[in-house]
């Protein structure tokens, strides 16, 4: 269970509507703006921006709805993306670069080539993905602030 300190470090919580392709990316832009205002290091901001962008695209592409939450503590920024949706049957397969179940509307946005989850993993210092079929998917990504 997360401790109280962690829960208190919640910086922002954003709702993401499934299949809302027009506004896809707006949450990631908002998160980036807020990190800029806080004067976070640029490389950290870019990592979080990429992670939240791909996570947002995933919720919009595959889930009914979801939330993206950002927690900021002195040593790390944690992103949690939780969705209500079909879930992922085979997580190992979903993490393989190039594997995708995307439809045409997702490809038209410039995504859906099976890179999203591996991009998130690449930019994360800690990466956890769990899913329940027919219920939804939970992603946790940590970007450490001390560089390691």
């Amino acid at each position: 269970m997360p401790d109280d300190d962690y829960l208190e470090s919640l910086e922002g919580s954003y709702y993401v509507q499934g299949r809302d392709f027009v506004d896809a990316g707006i949450v990631s832009s908002e998160i980036k703006k807020s990190l800029k205002e806080k004067g976070m290091p640029e490389d950290i901001i870019r990592k979080v921006a990429v992670i939240t962008f791909e996570a947002e695209i995933n919720i919009i592409s595959y889930a009914e709805q979801g939330t993206i939450q950002m927690f900021i503590r002195p040593d790390a920024i944690t992103i949690e993306a939780n969705d209500v949706g079909p879930g992922i049957a085979d997580i190992e397969l979903a993490l393989q670069e190039g594997y995708s179940t995307a439809d045409e509307s997702i490809r038209e946005m410039g995504f859906g080539a099976g890179m999203g989850l591996s991009n998130i993993k690449k930019f994360s210092d800690v990466f956890e993905l769990t899913s329940e079929i027919g219920k939804g998917t939970r992603l946790k990504s940590v970007v450490k602030l001390n560089g390691q």
Partner: protein, 126 residues
């Protein structure tokens, strides 16, 4: 080179950012797949793409990409232009296809923001 020179080399139209034509651009990245841009592009580069939707602008914003060149004369929506203005990202628009756009800029000294995919540090991939 300056953004204004890129405009001239590619007979491009400035759609957003008339006030930013003095911006210095030395590197570029060309792709239509935004996940590849997110994986490989570097901040400060020019994004050359045929994808003219809001996600291209948001991708550029996420990575601090300096400007976007829309190639192949792709049509631009009001939404695309509105978001580029909102996020302060200059947009150039050219009829040249991506290969020609890249080639002409490379010839004039603009280089890739990375040269090979293997240059990207992927210490987090097991």
């Amino acid at each position: 080179m300056k953004l204004s020179e890129i405009r001239d080399i590619l007979d491009a139209r400035v759609i957003v950012g008339e006030d930013k034509l003095d911006l210095e651009i030395t590197t570029a990245f060309g792709a239509d797949l935004m996940s590849d841009v997110l994986a490989f592009a570097r901040s400060g580069c020019l994004l050359i793409t045929g994808l003219s939707n809001p996600q291209a602008v948001r991708t550029a914003y996420a990575l601090d990409i300096a400007a976007i060149l829309v190639c192949r004369g792709k049509s631009l929506t009001d939404k695309f232009i509105e978001i580029a203005k909102e996020l302060g990202i200059p947009i150039l628009w050219t009829q040249y296809i991506m290969f020609e756009s890249c080639g002409k800029l490379f010839q004039e000294g603009v280089t890739g923001c990375i040269r090979k995919a293997s240059e990207v540090e992927d210490k987090h991939i097991a």
